[in-house]
Symmetry: C2
DNA sequence: CTGAAAGCGCTTACAG
DNA sequence: CTGAAAGCGCTTACAG
């Protein structure tokens, strides 16, 4: 039914091997022969059988995206980037969630990873947080000799990764708030244990200290990236006595920032006139909010794209071990100059 | 390195074929032999090479999820369902977006589909809207003899599908609004040309007419599923003279419903005291909104799960051509009894 | 520049 | 109940 390499060879009057050479762009084929084979392959709508090729080369032309309980928005963009990179190179992306919600031991994680990968022969693996920081998983991959690129890992170490500078982004955002005249800047931290939580907080601290201010412990509260936690912590911050109350709140992600806006408006505080708010992530929510949210846009799509590309590229042409991509501060309407009387 | 079927056969002192029988749960193996082979396979951590098996059977154990410009939320849930079904059966899901944004001709669509599938040998395809209603694509699939299950198609026809009754859901939601005393119920339609747009509108009309009311043309406006269009149309509805203004608005999806709430509050109308609002989809947004949105929950995960399952099941055991799954009306806080004086 | 042979790791008839 | 042979459609050495 479907044309095979033999059909093409017969029709072109050459051997299978020559067809194979043409298809894989190998040298040592006469231009004329090459052209003829190409024409006939196109005419027959020939495309190689991936299974046969995979069996012969022990490559699969498959890349796996492996993740655990991520934000839908985050994973979708990583995925889209990875798919685009795969498609350009004739690869395909297989998506494999690894549900490790319950605090599992290192060995259990390793086993879960192993059982996924043993059934599926992939040429490389993209690992998102928090999986990319699990030792058990990394070791399993090493044992199985499967290449892997980590996305936004906490510990950059010696293995390939793509990431961005959360620290610097948070620093710049805080600087911006300071530049708008704010001095009492509240900060809502993210889920404890996530790499991004610490990095973002560090950037905030650096900025505060860089202008000679002291960190005010009561202005720093602990959320967990959820809208609900953001609402809870916003109430704590906004119920501080007026002279201690923050005039701006920097939430570690957009969901929590949305909660801050919502709580503020329930308390009769106008954003940004009475309270400036900013977030982190630039999810679709950020533009829908009113006022539209000032936030940090992460290069999520590009991280996925570059991760897949690193996996696909022949070893020789690989760039450095790690790639740090640019973020962008999205200035919108939720931050204003501090009013004189505040 | 990795154990093969020959390794297992040798160590068990049987032929390759016997190992193959055990692994594929075929009959005609002595229980004792079967047990021994299983034990040794486990000990050697043997798992079959998918490429080799694929070459021999001309099956790939791969299912493709193909979509075009969908809502991230929708696709993620379909995908998660499909992956879970695949995993249970030893299959894997390959994700292949097909970008057909520009109004392409039927042949161009068919070609795009063909070039994706010729490179990738899959055992079946899951098609989401609007692709599942493209004749060109359906025909290509038929020519390639690739099984396909459509998700929520407009035309149910004779090919396998999974779906739900958008019509009935909209009917019930409108009935609920009527039951709360509302008579002037605004309706914001979705993107023209989407199957869901018409079905949801039909349900609304049926409900209105079922209680002996007439459709009021000025209460029906055209959105396109985007937040922005929802805001625009909400303004039109809410700027109607008070005696004509709707006391409830049913938006065809949650994003537009969110816009209605936002516009209402900007105009000083309290939801639900002055205006009841409901949506369709039950996206994560619905719970975050204040007030939390009354909406229709679609069985999206289950549609993905069942679609994959239909593809994987041996032909004999297939259920009916189509599966219609249950939806759920999620009553939350955005709808209230009509106040007496309105 | 070109090709014949062997082999990748499975399964499908077929034989016993 | 069990097995030896052939073959799926490619590519990898190797020869010429």
């Amino acid at each position: 039914m479907k044309a095979t390499i033999t059909d093409v060879a017969k029709k072109a009057g050459v051997s299978m091997k020559t067809v194979s050479r043409v298809l894989n762009n190998e040298p040592n084929v006469a231009d004329k022969t090459r052209a003829r084979v190409k024409a006939i392959a196109a005419e027959l709508r020939y495309s190689p059988n991936l299974a046969a090729r995979g069996l012969a080369t022990s490559k699969s032309y498959l890349i796996a995206l492996i993740y655990d309980n991520p934000s839908i928005n985050y994973i979708s963009h990583i995925q889209r980037g990875a798919i685009d990179a795969c498609r350009e190179a004739g690869y395909h992306l297989v998506v494999e969630p690894l549900y490790l919600e319950k605090a599992k031991s290192r060995d259990e994680k390793a086993d879960a990873m192993r059982s996924v990968l043993e059934r599926l022969p992939v040429d490389g693996v993209i690992l998102t947080p928090p999986l990319c920081d699990s030792e058990g998983i990394l070791q399993t991959l090493a044992e199985l000799r499967i290449d892997c690129v980590r996305v936004a890992p906490a510990n950059r170490g010696q293995q390939p990764f793509v990431g961005m500078d959360d620290d610097t982004a948070a620093y710049q955002m805080t600087q911006y708030l300071l530049g708008q005249g704010h001095q009492r800047i509240g900060f809502i931290k993210g889920h404890i244990g996530h790499a991004a939580t610490d990095m973002r907080f560090d950037g905030y601290c650096r900025a505060i200290e860089s202008v000679g201010l002291n960190l005010t412990p009561e202005l720093v509260v602990n959320g967990d990236f959820s809208f609900e936690s953001g609402a809870e912590q916003a109430k704590i911050l906004l119920n501080l006595p007026v002279e201690k109350r923050p005039t701006a709140i920097f939430a570690s992600n957009d969901d929590m920032a949305a909660a801050v806006i919502s709580v503020a408006s329930q308390m009769g505080l106008a954003v940004p006139a009475d309270l400036s708010v900013c977030g982190f992530d630039d999810t679709p929510l950020a533009r829908i909010l009113s006022p539209a949210l000032t936030t940090v846009r992460q290069p999520i799509y590009k991280m996925g794209y570059n991760a897949a590309q690193q996996l696909i590229m022949p070893a020789g042409s690989k760039a450095e071990i790690g790639q740090i991509l640019d973020f962008e501060i999205k200035l919108r309407d939720s931050v204003a100059l501090l009013k004189k009387n505040m």
